[in-house]
Symmetry: C2
Subunit: 238 residues, 2 copies
């Protein structure tokens, strides 16, 4: 690893999916030392964590932590509970209607942990891969939410209050569509065949092709004019 | 239990200490069904969780959950790491200087989980026992922090955005001093001998008498003119 301590540290929320892998590539290209943070929260698509571990290693993060938090205790989502993930939704309506894959307060919880880690490693920058164009309508992916989180974060930490270290939340993909994100990632050399986006993959990690995450991803590759390297389950190929 | 479903649910952040036990008593006296939420976060004063379990049962909460989150992974605090808890600080300076017992972003993390649970149980009210008078100067106990968290919470959840359910953060002790809190609790029938405040108790749960939490608590009982029922370690009795 050729990174050294003169490079500033950054905390990156990192799921191993298409968006957060693109963000990680961006962060590294800007010369940060990346501290990647993932969560095992009871998601049925646990497969993404294996992708996250592999990608984090390949891309050369300083450190990759997987926090265990069991959001299944609360239930309330098809991503963590026992009801089915919706399939075949029209991407045009996704942004207008919050689906059952919404996990209560998930990004609030993830960002709260990122804040804690940033404070302890002395990072002033926190990155996450949310975007509010090609997305599932989740409230905690919207610009208003991120702005409010930033104002709260400014008052939440010892480092912030003592004015030693203001922590800034960056969402560089917020206003990009999926095709733009993919083009940006390809420029930065991201190998998207390693990334895992599917909410309901097979035991071998093959994508279903039909959940919101798969549909947005397929549409993105098509619109970007980039060959889709995702490995789909046989019945998903149309 | 004589509570019924016509009573509104509330989520209460509940450590088993003096403040949050008083809040729980208040919440129950106001006719809520209380969902008590505690955290095993790697605190050295794990003893408080035994107190929390006992008190929650005795006071008749609907449900008590203990979430496991290991904040020791991050370090940065004498409450979760291997350096000593400060002893013998002057209560008059506590509020002016953030001590090493500060846990990075702790209340942000706790409130984020409370938000998730409130959304899934359909609660509109979240209570916590922070106070900004007799306290250790933690930034995330201040009114400005709570107001900013409230604004963020309004934008964070599906229930909030769809306007089915606005979740309100209540901190009824915020502007009370310790003596006022104790008097209020005594009125409500709280048995403070069960509560555990010490940051550094013995293996048997006896309080050290010298950490910030013990000093504020001792001072509170003295000023309230209430006999202090805390069981102290022998060397602490002066």
């Amino acid at each position: 690893m050729d990174r050294n301590l003169s490079q500033p540290p950054a905390v990156v929320l990192f799921s191993g999916g298409l968006d957060s892998t693109t963000v990680l590539a961006l962060v590294l290209s800007e010369g940060y030392r990346a501290h990647a943070l993932s969560f095992r929260y009871g998601q049925r698509h646990n497969w993404e964590l294996r992708a996250a571990e592999r990608i984090a290693r390949q891309m050369g993060v300083v450190e990759h932590r997987i926090i265990e938090i069991d959001l299944r205790t609360f239930g309330g989502s098809s991503l963590t509970a026992d009801f089915p993930v919706p399939k075949g939704r029209d991407p045009a309506v996704m942004a207008k209607e919050i689906p059952s894959t919404y996990v209560p307060a998930r990004n609030t919880i993830f960002l709260a942990f990122a804040l804690a880690w940033a404070e302890t490693v002395g990072a002033q920058d926190i990155f996450l891969g949310v975007n509010a164009l090609d997305y599932s309508g989740y409230p905690d992916c919207r610009p208003e939410f991120l702005e409010a989180f930033q104002r709260m974060a400014d008052l939440a930490t010892k480092a912030g209050v003592e004015e030693r270290q203001r922590m800034v939340i960056h969402a560089p993909l917020l206003r990009m569509n999926k095709a733009e994100i993919i083009r940006k990632g390809v420029q930065l050399g991201v190998n998207y065949s390693e990334t895992s986006s599917c909410y309901d993959p097979s035991a071998e990690g093959l994508a279903c092709g039909e959940c919101d995450a798969c549909l947005l991803r397929r549409k993105g590759f098509a619109e970007a004019g980039v060959a889709d390297p995702t490995r789909y389950q046989p019945q998903a190929v149309r």
